[in-house]
Symmetry: D5
Subunit: 131 residues, 10 copies
């Protein structure tokens, strides 16, 4: 599996933004796909996740076919769960310029552990009492 | 399928408002129908959604049979998910003059992606930290 | 079905209040029955609902058998969904004098539409931004 | 069934408190048992409930076997739903001296009505607008 | 089963922290495993739980294989439900230095009672009205 | 409720048979309605059931609107669960002349007991070993 | 709890048989109650079960209120799961003289084990190959 | 809605058969789509169904995109539930020449009644005892 | 974990048979426990399963507490899924001498694969067509 | 995606057979993995399936880690649903020489259609009435 090493080919420019049909309204779009897969950079083992994206659009909404192609582009990427989640968030924010956007990735069991990662833009405030 | 292009026939005047039997009380009505269908304006492919409407009535409530006919009127319309949702919201608000109204459309899978759109009147405030 | 016209026989005096065993505490009682039925005043067609009642008692709680008889009394009544809900709320408030009480009615599908109505005492505040 | 009249034998001293292993932390313990049964004081008919207890311990936690014995002690007691719930709350508070404790009882259907009662310590504030 | 008495072998140093790939963002990681088992210190009887951990990372995230080994280390430990939960919380906090972390343990039925324990860092504030 | 005594008004002639569009094929039609209600002939108490009908048509199929009206006609009838089920079976068989037909009625809880009755045409054979 | 020893008071004569309204037809009646409770003859601990009864009536059907009272009569009885099930079967068969009857009891967890017992009249044939 | 009258445009030639990759094996293919919609020939009202197709292929399997287009072709057709089901069966059998094929259509509620129709090729035998 | 090697200590004599209260009847007992755990003999990794046992008793039934202790005895045993299942079957058959007995073990995910093993006494016949 | 064309690298020799611990008994092993993915040979689009395998072993059982690696080997393969299913069946039969084996693949929605394919060894008999 040496040919599956991470490559820069997962490009955010696969994402296509189209004009928001109601740019003046604060409304929410939620998308979910059970078809995210990538490769563990340490073991070469495939990982599988359901990804959930919710956002309040700014001037753009995401074109769904481009979102599908963008998610497919992770298929041969090597990446940790936390990293994939944050990269999807960064790419969507850079392309859509949303008012608010959350990405949740929900991964199939590995080592008896089921893992979910959730990241949002803009950043949540630090919890009270934390340093 | 060239004859299915969007036409102005989906008219909000299909919606009938009847007098609210308790106009002085802030109470909520919630309606759900799994029978919303329209046509993708790009591919001509039918799309299917469950629509959920909740509102606090003003002086009027919606007559249910007229709501059914109004939802059917999208059958031959070409429209994007986000657009349909906002049009239903606008039409209901213009006819019912509610105190508050939310429309959620929940669409069957396309390209491996399940999409939900939610819009409300009056507008939600902008999230903190967004520009 | 001419003999099924609405009659004044659904009387709130079917409801029996008994002394609250702990009048000094703010606690909640929730009751649910899937056995509410009435008749559409326009079509004469039977309607069916599940009714959910929750309240914080004042000096009284509702006696369950009397609640059952009260709900049955709608069987031959002609009434719209919104009206039934508000009448149940009014009757329970007048008999129990609760600190807080909510009625939810959840109706079987008519015309492909599933409807729920929710009303509370005391009234919720008007939503911000509404006129 | 005359011998099943309510008796004072359901004693809170069945409850055993043991030292909280982490007395300085605000954490929560939740216990649920589907095995609460008592007898209706009016009809002599058995009633059945699931009981849910959640609390933030003070200096003590409840020993589980003693909780089981305590719940069994209601088996021959005659009591109304609202009364049982408040008595369990009172007994647990008097023995455990918790920072916070809630009791929910969820009763099997009687007369077509499913009833749930929820009481908490310390008391919830009165709802706004209630007298 | 005398050889199963609690021993110091469950060491937090089984836990391995790796660098957080996005240390500047407040995002959440949630892990769940149905494979926590230990031994009741009073009866020697095995206990079984599902453990749920959620945290906002600081500079580190937990390496999943080390978390699996750490959870296995309870297999021969004698400990009460409340104690196990707080020890897992303490160990994870000491190794990960998270911004926020919650541990929930959900135990199989004993004596007809299903128990859940939930503890968090930093500590929740004391509820109002408690002494 | 003396006027609710069983009357002959529930007439099978409410049922309308229409021509089977494929009379030569052995295929099955299944109908389910949660809206069957009648009155207990002993207590006058309303009863509620879901009715499930499945049949292999002969020369006719049932017209759905007529089936709805037929089921409504039980609303003021006094009848036991077992009797209602067998009467629906007899009426449908007499009107549709099906190749096979089964009626199942599934009744809401009374006295803590949930009851289901199932009857078929043609009759099932006697079980082996029964006298 | 010494006074809870098994007594002969659970009498099958609590069961009332009424005339089958359609004695010539092979149809099935199914009853389910989640309210069966008795006492373990070894530990005095209460046990709880859901009981499911299905039968093809002969000349009689069971009157539901009498079935409820019959099931309640086990409340103070000491009996093993397998014994209770077979006694219910025997009593129902002796009173109803059914063509076929099955009793299933489904017990709440004891010692981490969930138990179900199923017995039928007439007896099933011995499985092939058994001695 | 006069222009929605049934037209001959729903053509079975939309269906494309491709070569079965394992023609010598008796294996099963099952397809399900929640996107079947047509128009009631009496009321002009849209109807909605989930369609389930299962078959044992002969020399051909159905190409999925052609199946999708074929199902869409019912969108403007006026047809009864029983008729649609039998026409889908006939068309698939004529194009695929399967060893066995079953069509089930499961329709959304109309008049409070949920209807399912199931037809198979080759025909099931007549039930014993039917004339 | 070298000290966890398989040892002969899992003894079938932990199982206690008690007299069947109805030895002349063919009835079934079903037991289920989610608390079976053992150790993989290759990796030393713990495995977890739910075990389901169903049997038609001969002269004996299994005493439930002894079944619990017997299942616990696998805790430190090293064994493959298929082997554990067959050993439980053999031990139960040797102690209970049942007329029929089935063991199903249902294991938590390992390597992304969920495994279930089912074995019965007496042996099922070889499937037709197998060599 | 030209480099993803089907290649011969998915080799059945990835599958490892180990000795059946109970070769003389007819028992069943069932494995399920939600992690099967391949590529559509026509569109290059990834497809995702859950695969379920059940078999009665002959002299061998499948080693689970080798099964995992074997299923992964389809990741870059181009194949139709029906073909993948039959190839998995053939490979497992050739390596395990089971007494009976069934493969079910359950694919995520494409074009609004959810597809399942099921194939077995030895072959099922042809259905009666088919040519």
């Amino acid at each position: 599996m040496s040919s599956r090493a991470p490559t820069p080919s997962r490009a955010p420019d696969l994402l296509v933004a189209v004009a928001n049909p109601r740019p003046g309204r604060v409304y929410e779009v939620r998308c979910e796909s059970p078809e995210l897969t990538c490769v563990c950079p340490m073991t070469g083992q495939p990982d599988f996740a359901t990804v959930r994206i919710s956002y309040v659009p700014g001037d753009s909404i995401v074109e769904l076919k481009s979102l599908k192609l963008y998610l497919w582009s992770y298929r041969d990427q090597g990446a940790f769960h936390e990293d994939v989640t944050n990269r999807i968030l960064d790419d969507l924010v850079s392309v859509l310029r949303p008012q608010r956007l959350t990405v949740v990735t929900d991964w199939l069991v590995r080592g008896g552990i089921h893992t979910v990662v959730e990241a949002s833009y803009p950043d949540a405030p630090l919890p009270a009492g934390a340093s």
